[in-house]
């Protein structure tokens, strides 16, 4: 019994490694012809000069825009493949300070009000700082990006449980339609058409993968009256399965 279990485990590890390498190679090698398409489009635009059919220019613009999307998707895939391979440094982190810093990165964004509350006994934690930051930034970004209110509000509440930190990020945005809820963590899924919003839809997928890696949780719930509430449960102690 133990023998076959061990074999299964080994196969699983090997398969995971193969998957990571596959994503990496695919997204890495595809970048070359993509760059070629983008560059050649620019050259055609330049060579056409000023006297040219407006439709042609519009189409070339669309072409470059789609290639840019391809690039974003490739970068997202690359990032996804790297979750378990890079930035795995543990260091001492002051949680409220880190979250404040994340919020400060949105200082330049207009019409957003952040309300941050942290009620912690143990403010410092020895953890995968960069990964935690990545998840918080992704969720914060989503809270703002899809919110079209005049005055956008984002609430960040942090409490401490026995074994983890619970970070609730809520917003007064449109919330997520019921039929889309189970899809939002899939890579590249966006609720609205990508023509409307220039985003790859990978933030939550990558965050989800990070949460799996650290043994935590990332969950969505609709807000009381409207909006979204994302809850991150970040474990105090992380054991990486290697």
């Amino acid at each position: 019994m133990e023998e076959s279990e061990k074999k299964c485990q080994e196969e699983l590890v090997a398969l995971k490694k193969e998957f990571e390498e596959f994503i990496y190679i695919v997204s890495h090698d595809i970048k070359s012809p993509m760059r070629a398409i983008s560059n050649i489009t620019t050259w055609i635009e330049e060579d056409l000069g000023s006297v040219v059919n407006q439709d042609v220019l519009t189409n070339l613009g669309l072409l470059k825009n789609r290639v840019k999307r391809l690039e974003n998707m490739m970068n997202a895939l690359l990032e996804l493949s790297r979750v378990e391979r890079t930035e795995l440094e543990f260091y001492e982190l002051n949680i409220p300070k880190m979250i404040s810093n994340c919020i400060a990165l949105f200082d330049d964004t207009a019409h957003v009000d952040f309300q941050f509350k942290a009620d912690l006994q143990q403010e410092n934690c020895f953890t995968l700082g960069l990964k935690m930051q990545k998840v918080i930034m992704s969720v914060l970004d989503n809270a703002i990006r899809f919110n079209h209110e005049e005055n956008r509000l984002v609430f960040v509440d942090v409490i401490e449980n026995e074994n983890d930190y619970e970070i609730k990020i809520s917003d007064n945005g449109p919330g997520i339609p019921e039929q889309a809820i189970h899809k939002i963590f899939s890579i590249f899924y966006t609720v609205n058409s990508k023509d409307e919003l220039d985003t790859t839809g990978a933030g939550l997928a990558i965050s989800c993968k990070i949460m799996k890696l650290v043994g935590g949780k990332l969950e969505y719930a609709p807000g009381l009256s409207s909006g979204s509430v994302f809850t991150i449960n970040w474990p105090k102690i992380i054991t990486l399965k290697n």
């Binding site: 890495h28 970048k31 070359s32 993509m34 760059r35 070629a36 983008s38 560059n39 050649i40 620019t42 050259w43 290639v67 840019k68 690039e71």
Partner: protein, 136 residues
Amino acid sequence: MNQKLVNILLVEDDEVDVMNVKRAFSKNNIMNPLFVAGNGVEALEMLDDKIIPLPKIIILDINMPKMNGIEFLKIMRENEKLKNISVFVMTTSNEDSDKINAYNLNVAGYILKPLSFEKFLTSVATLKNFWQLCEM
């Protein structure tokens, strides 16, 4: 300043990337004679057999068939005639290992190929200014 323009050898297997460099050079008025080799083996033949005049600058891609950039660089640095040529790596590889290997073989710079042509133009403009500073 009356400077003689040095020869530049581009070692690059992707034909669109070669066009990229040629176009960016022309837009930046870089008039240096430009030679092209499709990979490390071809480059060594061109250099060893004196098929082309000796370049002072080599622009080197890393991922190429037959012989990649790092292997070519190793051989070049062990060749008395070639070891002092200035090498500028131009590649899509963002791998630390490639950067470390390249700098250990004393390249003068390691440049990532940007996606947009506009960004590439700016990088080449900066390169041109730098070369002029070194009187190349």
